[in-house]
Symmetry: C2
Subunit: 362 residues, 2 copies
């Protein structure tokens, strides 16, 4: 038998992208079809390398060829990706800006932001992280970069700041430019100017995702960033306590305000339960159970996962190495799953914004 | 040999009350001296039944008689107490008002207030508890009193509310008068009136300590209570995180304001470490270590203790029975020690306010 390109496209036209609810061919996700006898090879261009449905989609493609063309076909699928974008983010070369926010402090927002950025990078995406928490920047400590100073040069009369590269991502923190022992007594407008420079004056290059660690609460910086740079979506971090959930709701409310209008990608529940490293099968729901999930369903936004707290009594904190890079246990898995779900929501949000039809791949 | 009353008083004049830095005789703490041959008996009137130095003082008394009078003397010491007071609290029969406050919600302030009240009662003191957290009253749930309604009668044209008695203390909560399913949309002045009624219109009887569970933060209720009723002192509850400590500082600042001017009895650190019931010897410092102690020393106020978090995975929360009554483990000990230290600070504060000399015992 002779297999044709048209047969392959027809077969794969039966495979639906589960999130985008359209078939792969309509979505323009099939490329590089090569046929030699019974050997069929093609590429599937996912909307993100962190796609949690990667294995599922690959399987569905194999089954489609086998079912609609021939059980004898030898199928080789190249799963690849090109991260989508929906609009000009205001930062040249940056496809998506993801804001990480929380209603109140102390919920682990910066930890989630850092591990989200690293989780996306681990999947193969090009990622940057801006620590815009001007009153309590934590990137310098979390990445072991205390005292680091980014290089800055003046090109054609314009300042260019070089982000610092560590663990495969590009980083800038307002903490790189301030003295950690001095409080920052800047007022709103000064803060806004400083934060805008982290976006505008830095040499970010090509990025699939730029993750922003916002200060807790709702304030000047939130308004400045969302009004200056079209943020793709916001991730809300909370802990399971009722008090934290009430504050998280306020945080979500801010992004939904007409003047800000940033899509909510979903809710991440941090410190969901405690697991002693010495008793890895035990889950202690210290702060209550299921609060984050309940909040997400009340707000009708996706639940992006629960992050447990795993600690050993001999654990010194390992400052300078984010969790996702430290171990290969439950926390790494939780952060990796969360990063995949965030990437998934970005892809869905982009697809929705672009309307139906093919995925724009800038 | 013949032992005289004067010899006994002279001997006991060498025993110093460690907190008040004066001897027991000067402090008028020795009473009911009886002598029969070599048998010497007397009472020591402590300033609180919850005195953590009880055993130490008793020992010192025995040693003083043995050392200054005769090794042959058979000493019988009756350790008793009469709780001191320094001023009219504004509530008839109530000797001391202790306010429990926190800079932010979610730190376990109500848990500390309830266990403080029960810990004081366990030592033998007469104790009341007012839950003034109008926006989130927790006493009804913590004491298993949902749906309870205190009896009210009108005597001589004046309303008298009967506090509910449970676990040996008298209780009133704003939650007894509101529907738990309805938000309380009261404004500042209405709230103040309601809270004042819990003090003024209730039949508290004779109380050594009236513990007030204040709402988190700083607001109308705090100002109303502290300006209407002379509060003996405030206990500040915090958790070890830096964010919580910063908020706790603000809370302390409020009590120190000239318009409020309530002495700070000290800082309690809640959720200091986590101990799984299944691994009782392990301490997991989830939120950092020593923050409460550091805060207390920065503010130059006493550190009243760290309360651990002990939980079993089979633990359903035991709502309705406060921790101090549930088990006989580390948490009960932590709360009991804390209650003793608070009582100690009240006694010291009262002694200071009364100036030197004898302890006033109303």
């Amino acid at each position: 038998m002779i297999i044709t390109k048209e047969q392959v496209l027809q077969a794969l036209g039966n495979v639906e992208e589960p999130d985008l609810k359209k078939d792969l061919v309509t979505l323009n996700m099939i490329q590089d079809i090569h046929i030699e006898g019974l050997n069929v090879s093609f590429s599937v261009i996912l909307t993100t390398p962190a796609c949690p449905l990667k294995a599922l989609i690959e399987n569905a493609c194999r089954n489609a060829i086998s079912h609609f063309i021939s059980k004898e076909a030898v199928v080789s699928v190249n799963m690849t990706s090109r991260v989508t974008t929906q609009k000009n983010t205001g930062v040249p070369g940056v496809k998506n800006i993801i804001a990480v926010a929380s209603g109140k402090g102390g919920v682990g927002k910066s930890t989630v932001a850092a591990n989200l950025a690293l989780g996306l990078a681990k999947s193969g995406a090009k990622v940057g992280l801006i620590d815009a928490d001007i009153y309590g920047p934590s990137v310098p400590i979390m990445f072991g970069l205390e005292g680091a100073r980014p290089q800055a040069s003046v090109v054609d009369g314009k300042t260019r700041i070089e982000p610092i590269e560590k663990y495969g991502i590009k980083l800038l923190s307002i903490g790189f430019f301030t003295d950690p022992n001095q409080p920052v007594p800047w007022r709103g407008p000064m803060v806004s100017t400083a934060v805008k420079q982290l976006f505008n004056d830095a040499d970010w290059g090509e990025l699939d995702y730029l993750v922003i660690d916002l200060p807790p609460g709702t304030g000047d910086i939130h308004i400045t960033i969302t009004q200056t740079f079209p943020v793709t979506g916001a991730v809300i971090v909370t802990t399971p306590q009722n008090v934290a959930l009430a504050d998280a709701k306020k945080g979500v409310g801010m992004f939904m305000m007409p003047a800000i209008n940033v899509p909510i990608l979903g809710v991440v529940e941090n410190m969901s339960y405690f697991t002693p490293a010495e008793l890895p099968d035990n889950k202690y729901y210290i702060f209550g159970k299921g609060g984050g999930q309940k909040l997400a369903s009340q707000l009708d936004v996706p639940f992006l996962g629960e992050i447990p707290l795993v600690k050993s009594i001999s654990d010194s904190g390992d400052a300078g190495i984010p969790t996702i890079l430290q171990e290969d246990g439950v926390m790494t898995k939780a952060f990796t799953d969360m990063a995949q779900r965030v990437a998934q929501q970005v892809a869905i949000s982009n697809a929705k914004a672009l309307g139906n039809g093919a995925i724009a791949t800038v």
